[in-house]
Symmetry: C2
Subunit: 81 residues, 2 copies
């Protein structure tokens, strides 16, 4: 879950990713960083309502589902997802 030093992304920001499920209601926002010259893999960083920033696994099904729900705007905060 640790994050490399932030700032302009000159390299990968996520050293490890959190594989455990995080209920949507704890997530304040999700930031997606495409792969590129600075980092060969895409990175997904969630900022939790606690202020904590967590690297998520971009290809984990629950991450894709949460992002889909956010986009659909059908994410009832109280629901698990």
């Amino acid at each position: 879950m640790s994050l490399a030093r932030m700032g302009t992304e000159l390299r990968c920001q996520c050293i490890k990713t959190e594989s455990g499920f995080i209920p949507r209601r704890f997530i304040q926002n999700v930031q997606l960083f495409p792969s590129g010259p600075h980092c060969s893999n895409a990175e997904v960083i969630a900022t939790l309502k606690s202020g904590q920033r967590v690297c998520l696994e971009p290809t984990a099904p629950w991450v894709e589902r949460i992002i889909k729900k956010i986009l659909e705007g059908s994410d009832r905060p109280e629901s698990q997802l």
Copy 2:
């Protein structure tokens, strides 16, 4: 495309959304803000490589496609998507 004042999100950040397609290679990162007490709709804000921040329409098919491509990590920067 204008953005309300930033800072802790106490209200909607996007006054208008950019409906035009933005090629993936211009996008540095995409931030998703779920709907919540502060704002009744989900918001998607792309930071372009120029540094400009642009509000995107969360339900626009091209936005969903670009996010999917980012997650899949199969986004060849030179490709249109």
